[in-house]
Subunit: 343 residues, 2 copies
């Protein structure tokens, strides 16, 4: 039976504070058979593209009360990725199929719950897009913006982490809807992208603002109808002061809080009452039933170049730990992807 | 023209911190004609019952970003009340009609926007109820609980300020819906009321708890589906940790914050995402169109003694300032009402 080397990124142990590369050592000594064991109804895949996502920080804590189980110390990191089926014990999949879904940070993975995988139909777009615009982050932007915020033409939209995997899409969706949209990001390079690439009406570098409330009042003299929340903390505190009556907040993530041992307190929550705000947290995987509807909308937009998507692609499994760590200091520009193999 | 004395409670000036009785001096020197001026399309009323409500604190601050205008220094306090029409320039009202709505803290008031008044049809219930169960607090409990929280039988409900004008009703509505409901209040006397009078399954005195999170875990080992938020601050912080997936928070008030110069920060907001929470702030006056529907439901419940309502009634306009001040230290037991006149 053919055995191949199976390089892996191991989750060393539970993490406090910011994760470091050394929390995710590379293990090169493992091998794997390219045939599934007799009777398996799993799927053996070769991993092509791995996705680095902020929610993964939650899985690095032992007591994190998160929506996903913590990673298992000593085992490979798991996450979303694009992969190619090498052997299948499941009737929905056959050798050569391209899929996206939950997989391991390694070269080959046996997926024991193949019913959670999505088969990739459309291959005349970059395959890596299935970790981003055509995958979980895309659905996140779609669900959070359209379904939760129910945007109307002419409304004022604010997006934090606005050039990230999700934010860059929210900004573009908002423009397609006829909204006025302002984004914030943490470098001037990203601010330029927001304005020149994604079509944000305005953008600012939050790290250069002494007073976030004043910055928001400058960009939204009439207030904010829709806030797409990716960061939490002080930004949320300032946003609450600037929401308009009947404003909506789609709570997608709070990356500013993930590496703190105790969350920051957020003031101005009485605005929720005064302004009759609607705040809705969501986990996109609850809404994957809408994926076909989203694909039908977004694939033509990509092909007609009415929407664009920026990826930050690093090469090789060995680059994955640094790529994930970089998310939490905003090192990535656009969706952070790791190429394990191109086919 | 008949002139009578018109005792008034004057709003002295904008308030910082807790309001004091001396912020609302009594003025006994004013007189008023019991006939409207020629051509007026207002309504002249004799005030019977005045309502003391926590939202009134917001109107005592100059820069309060509230949903209502601040009070006018030197003029009478305004609020909700039950009154009898003495003279009317408006076709909807005639002398002798009983009404409830916005009026002044004085014996007689000329209401210049009579279209905002509600005519009282049902008089075989205590008239004072139109400041409480049959008025704004009743609608608040109804809208916040039924419309926002969409309760289902068997769900776990938590109510803060649970014996107050609104909370006592939320608890009873929750029991009528078949929910498990726990309330919190600030005295042992109120805790007894919650359990013995309003039918709460359990109740506790939050002032006797060192650790609100631990208290909630004791009463809700399986977590909270619905939180009716009246207090904000540390209670909200603890509740967020104990919400269940897809939980709903009806944000009605945050009385713990109203007298602070700066709001407390609230931690644990990442629970909004992890637990997919739905948080909705509301101002009940936006929803008074539902009043007939609510009346149809609640009046039979009162008459059949399936629901009860506790009022804390003080006599005389001169008692009004202390009654309002008392709300913010939880001195009132049940709905705080001031009797100006009984008919």
């Amino acid at each position: 039976m053919e055995e191949v080397r199976n390089q892996q990124v191991i989750f060393k142990d539970y993490v406090n504070g910011f994760p470091k590369e050394s929390d995710m050592p590379l293990k090169t000594s493992t091998t794997i058979s390219l045939k599934l064991p007799q009777g398996s109804n799993g799927v053996l895949v070769k991993n092509l593209y791995l996705s680095c996502d902020p929610y993964m920080r939650g899985r690095m804590s032992k007591t994190q009360g998160s929506y996903f189980e913590p990673f298992t110390p000593g085992s490979p990191i798991t996450g979303l990725g694009v992969a190619k089926v090498v052997d299948s014990g499941h009737s929905n999949f056959k050798k050569g199929d391209l899929v996206w879904g939950g997989t391991g940070w390694e070269q080959y993975t046996i997926i024991t719950t193949p019913q959670t995988l999505f088969k990739i139909q459309d291959t005349d777009v970059p395959l890596s897009y299935y970790t981003g615009i055509l995958g979980m982050p895309g659905m996140t932007a779609y669900y959070g913006f359209y379904e939760i915020c129910a945007p109307k033409k002419g409304e004022y939209v604010f997006v934090s982490s606005a050039s990230g995997a999700v934010g860059q899409l929210v900004g573009q969706f908002a423009k397609l809807t006829g909204c006025y949209v302002v984004g914030t990001a943490g470098t001037n390079e990203k601010v330029e992208l927001l304005k020149n690439k994604f079509g944000y009406d305005e953008a600012f570098n939050y790290k250069e603002e002494q007073d976030l409330d004043a910055a928001l009042k400058r960009y939204f003299p009439e207030g904010i109808d829709i806030y797409f929340e990716n960061v939490g903390g002080k930004m949320l505190e300032a946003v609450l002061l600037n929401m308009r009556v009947n404003g909506r907040i789609s709570a997608c993530g709070m990356i500013s809080q993930y590496n703190l041992n105790q969350e920051e307190g957020v003031r101005n929550l009485s605005s929720i009452i005064m302004k009759r705000l609607h705040i809705k947290g969501f986990i996109v995987s609850d809404h994957f039933n809408l994926l076909p509807k989203y694909m039908e909308m977004v694939i033509p937009l990509i092909k007609e170049r009415k929407i664009c998507y920026i990826e930050d692609i690093v090469e090789g499994l060995e680059s994955a730990p640094a790529a994930l760590v970089g998310l939490f200091s905003g090192k990535n520009v656009g969706k952070q992807v790791v190429v394990v193999a191109r086919e």
